[in-house]
């Protein structure tokens, strides 16, 4: 079978060969424990970690000491949210977040709720963005944390981070930002944007899986957090556990490459994305881009193809790896909560496809995918009773879909 074209770079990315090369020695000859202070094996591992820390800090305009290594962004989000809530429990117990956050943030917030915290889940507009005025309005005496992602993983929409940072600063509230999708694609400057905690993942930026980082501000203000993992007191006591030296070296190298290639690479990928988007919009009717077109990552295209179910479309383009907000692809059989939060009708959420372009996609691939998607959408529409009805002028929203309108998929197991 021919190898598929990979356009799911929001899910993960391949390790850049330069990253792999940088990592390899740290699996074998340079195997030392970075915490070993008594011999050269440890010193060399520690030196490699120090260099990686500097590279990561440089990319986000932070100090190296402000980088805390973790097992990935899920852990970073957990540490930021639970760690701040625990450290500031005497000051307050209210957290502000947003409906379209990643599950690592939402489920951390739910955990806090179960422990007596109050959480405000702000809505987003039709464009997928949170309103900074609503953030400001949600702040109360007990608010200890605002956690809003930089860019959404499903629709690529970029929130007004600088404005939220200003609101947070003005009210003296700690601002955590999950920047997993944005880092390496758009400039992320924790000083300019007023971010106090920032979650980073290596495998979304052509680094290895299983390693990430949390930026923790040390000055103005000095952010305190309680660790969620106890042990040897590594990482300024915030994250115990022997450092994943090869992974950390990989994350550092990945950040260094992003820093050097970002403006050109983002421009190139945005041009490919726009080409794909424009082809699909001009060759198909009733195709819609989900979320803001203006405030969007350069590599993301989330579209709904009316009258075509997302999973069947993915099956039709089986040599192209993408993802869908269709219910059929989720364990819960519920369509994307992110698209629903934007007010995308549920049937259009079922019809959504996310194309995530990346460093290794070519123009030929984009051309191939463009033509293939158009061909398959047309084939599936020929097979779709909804497309038939719409062509005949039936307003689908007025149709009575009978008992099946609210059936519970899970109960039909006869």
């Amino acid at each position: 079978m021919k190898r598929a074209i990979y356009m799911d770079n929001h899910a993960t990315t391949p390790v850049d060969p330069r990253v792999l090369e940088a990592m390899l020695p740290y699996f074998s000859v340079e195997f030392g424990n970075a915490a070993s202070r008594t011999h050269q094996f440890g010193w060399r591992a520690d030196e490699a970690v120090k260099i990686a820390r500097e590279k990561i800090a440089r990319l986000i305009n932070a100090e190296p000491e402000e980088i805390i290594f973790t097992s990935g962004a899920t852990e970073s989000d957990n540490l930021a949210i639970k760690g701040v809530a625990a450290a500031f429990a005497e000051k307050g117990n209210h957290v502000i977040t947003c409906a379209t956050e990643h599950k690592a943030v939402l489920d951390s917030c739910k955990r806090l709720e179960s422990q007596g915290c109050a959480v405000t889940y702000l809505p987003v507009g039709r464009d997928g963005r949170v309103d900074p005025a609503q953030v400001a309005a949600a702040i109360g005496d007990k608010t200890v944390l605002i956690t809003i992602m930089f860019a959404n993983n499903e629709i690529g929409v970029i929130h007004p981070i600088a404005e939220i940072g200003k609101v947070a600063k003005a009210r003296g509230i700690i601002f955590h930002c999950d920047a997993v999708q944005a880092l390496g694609k758009v400039p992320v400057d924790v000083q300019a944007l007023g971010i106090d905690l920032l979650s980073i993942s290596a495998h979304k930026i052509y680094g290895p899986k299983g390693v990430g980082a949390l930026y923790v501000r040390r000055k103005k203000p000095r952010v305190r957090l309680l660790p969620i993992i106890d042990g040897g007191g590594h990482e300024r006591g915030m994250r115990s556990g022997t450092l994943n030296v090869p992974g950390i070296v990989g994350l550092g190298k990945a950040c260094e490459i992003c820093q050097s290639v970002m403006p050109d690479e983002s421009r190139r990928i945005a041009a490919l994305r726009d080409k794909l988007q424009n082809y699909l919009l001009s060759h198909l009717d009733e195709v819609y881009v989900n979320g803001s077109i203006e405030h969007r990552l350069p590599n993301c295209l989330n579209m709904s193809f009316a009258y075509v179910e997302g999973e069947s479309l993915m099956m039709g383009i089986d040599d192209v790896a993408v993802s869908s907000g269709s219910a059929c692809t989720s364990a819960t059989l519920e369509p994307s909560y992110v698209l629903r939060a934007l007010g995308v009708p549920v049937e259009m959420a079922h019809s959504s496809i996310r194309f995530g372009l990346g460093r290794f996609n070519t123009e030929d691939e984009v051309d191939y995918v463009s033509e293939k998607v158009v061909r398959v959408v047309n084939r599936l529409r020929d097979m779709s009773p909804l497309y038939d009805m719409a062509r005949r002028g039936v307003d689908l929203s007025t149709v009575d879909w009978g008992d099946h309108g609210h059936h519970d998929h899970g109960s039909h197991s006869s």
Partner: protein, 149 residues
């Protein structure tokens, strides 16, 4: 994730389409809803002997839903209405090797068959032709006949 049979029927679905509107011997069943992510339309065309001589479908849904509807149309051809009524979702699910999360696709197909039959009977004024009601089960043909019902 998909069985070879589902992939084959998704790539080469049988009997896609609709019969011309107003044909007297056609029954139409439409089940599911856009909000649930699947809508199945299934039609049967019955001859004077009460035998389903042709069947068509259109489906908005995942590959398993498309394959279930396609398979149903194949199984329907040559059956009497009584025999068609006996097609069970478990047989479709078994033939297509549907995982638990996709069983509802086969349920939709079974429901679509039943709705199409009811629609046909309603259109004919509520009565079934004698030949249909008295067709002996032994004459059943098709893949579902050997499933041990």
């Amino acid at each position: 994730m998909y069985s070879p049979r589902v992939i084959e029927l998704f790539q080469n679905p049988r009997n896609v389409g609709t019969f011309a509107e107003g044909e007297p011997n056609v029954g139409t069943g439409v089940v599911g809803s856009p909000a649930c992510g699947d809508v199945m339309q299934l039609q049967i065309k019955v001859n004077d002997q009460g035998i389903i001589e042709d069947a068509r479908f259109k489906t908005f849904g995942c590959g398993s839903a498309i394959a279930s509807a396609s398979l149903a149309t194949e199984w329907l051809k040559g059956k009497t209405l009584e025999e068609a009524r006996k097609i069970k979702n478990v047989e479709i699910a078994k033939e297509l090797e549907l995982p638990p999360i996709k069983i509802h696709c086969s349920v939709l197909a079974e429901d679509a068959i039943k709705n199409a039959i009811e629609d046909l009977i309603k259109r004919r004024g509520g009565s079934q032709p004698e030949a249909v009601a008295e067709a002996p089960a032994a004459e059943t043909a098709g893949p579902s006949s050997g499933s041990g019902r």
